[in-house]
Symmetry: C2
Subunit: 330 residues, 2 copies
Amino acid sequence: MNIRLLISTLCIFALSTLCSSWSLAQDPLPSWNDGKTKQAILSFVERVTDESSTDFVPPAERIATFDNDGTLWSEKPAYFQLLFIVDRVKSLSAEHPEWQHTEPFASILKGDLHSVAASGKPGLMKLFAATHAGMTVDEFSETVTTWLETSRHPSSGKRYDEMIYQPMLELLSYLRANGFKTYIVSGGGIEFMRPWAYAAYGIPPEQVVGSSLKLKYEVRDGTPVLVKLPEVDLIDDKEGKPVGIQSHIGRRPIFAGGNSDGDYQMMQWTTAGEGSRFALLVHHTDADREWAYDKDSAIGKLDKGLQDAAAQGWTVVDMKADWKTIYPWE
Amino acid sequence: MNIRLLISTLCIFALSTLCSSWSLAQDPLPSWNDGKTKQAILSFVERVTDESSTDFVPPAERIATFDNDGTLWSEKPAYFQLLFIVDRVKSLSAEHPEWQHTEPFASILKGDLHSVAASGKPGLMKLFAATHAGMTVDEFSETVTTWLETSRHPSSGKRYDEMIYQPMLELLSYLRANGFKTYIVSGGGIEFMRPWAYAAYGIPPEQVVGSSLKLKYEVRDGTPVLVKLPEVDLIDDKEGKPVGIQSHIGRRPIFAGGNSDGDYQMMQWTTAGEGSRFALLVHHTDADREWAYDKDSAIGKLDKGLQDAAAQGWTVVDMKADWKTIYPWE
């Protein structure tokens, strides 16, 4: 290292130390009520970033992974990606008169989501194949962006990408300000989330992990394209989450946030690692400001996670008690 | 943005501007001979980082992807991962007396790599299954690390992770100093490269893309593990490279480096994007200091890429003429 580089490195170090003491003077999590949940988060981050602590973790290993549906944004009345699919089926139905008599399309066109759910995995795969596959990745991305711009959430009337949780935005920023790399690890589609995750959460496309269809590279009329095939590549849910994490990140997270039993294995994998680890489980307890549901909900079912949280040392967020604000626009 | 944050941001900006003018005063690519190849690289990086240029690319989109075998390190007398497999077969053979009479194991044990190559894809899959699958990701990583520590390259006598190209190390550093995120996108195994890529190239595990076996998450005696299955997940070669790039990065690179026809599609995908793009093709022309080979080589075959480079606007590195030094230890 030459002298100039050394001096500038020292200056930058001095400045960043100043910056971090300034920001510490402010509350980094203003939408979190004071209490043991907030305190547990602050204490963890202080320990892993304190070089004199036995819990210190070098910045490169500060990986934090977050589920999306129900953890970073709402998931009621149904997963927003399912509502996107419903809208896609409706807009494509003119080209597919046969859908009026073919399940699960007929049920969707009648507005009967119950029967869609009852069609199970084969039904869902038909929907994915009809609404996602065959398109290029770029075409799909534009479709998602247009849908977000033109659609509104049925109960709030807000854009879907405004149905995000203010306390979680603060947590993501706080972690990043402390050297963490923040990732989405969601059962939702990877290409469904990438177009808007940076604007909504500050998470770039390369830090989004999700369920995916297989892709095929081909040259169409001289132009190379990547086409989505009607074949599942990864279901990034339950046991699939640690697999998605290893495939994309290649390191075990030290912080994981989730809200349903689909996140159980990600939290288990995270906290089974050596050293200090943190798992955050968002419990939807606020029927007035958001929704209240857990073990009996078809969407975002949380049962085993809640039973085991105490024994596993996971921190449960009581949305009603812990969150001062739910959405940024409140 | 509050005033304190604004001031510190401005200070950091001023300092980094100073730092970059200091480093510009030095030659960022000292192991590259002056000439049109080096000039093309420098000119590209200056244009995409100059905010007043029409070729300017925001830092977040400065993605650079590099093949590994033959591009960042040598690949002769055979892909180093194949030599690793040979060593693994030898060390596991005591537990597998049947391998003395089963192909492709018998050929390996006799030192006959030609017959191994002749066993084709099914033979190679048997080798991968026997030497890679069944292990946990952590066990495999330790095996690779131990092998690197105890093995030496047959002609140089150096560690395999010392058979890396000094000019490419400088290029990686130069790109990163200019806001690029550097990735490996290799036909080699993702978990084979991750354990040493950071020490060798400054590329962290989450920026390594490679061929992979499917993984399975399971809890063994209360301990969660990720097990490698004897089933291919991705062959990250040829058409597989743009697929691996989209899956892991979700953005199209603006810079790609390769050396063989296995990199053709990655370079095609990169340079077909809008705006200024750069593709670098390393041509092995130095039989004295490294190896000289192209269209007739079984390993690292380069034929179509060399034919099309001029028409595609790709920059060909003539190793003998363009590189002052090959290895860091010279």
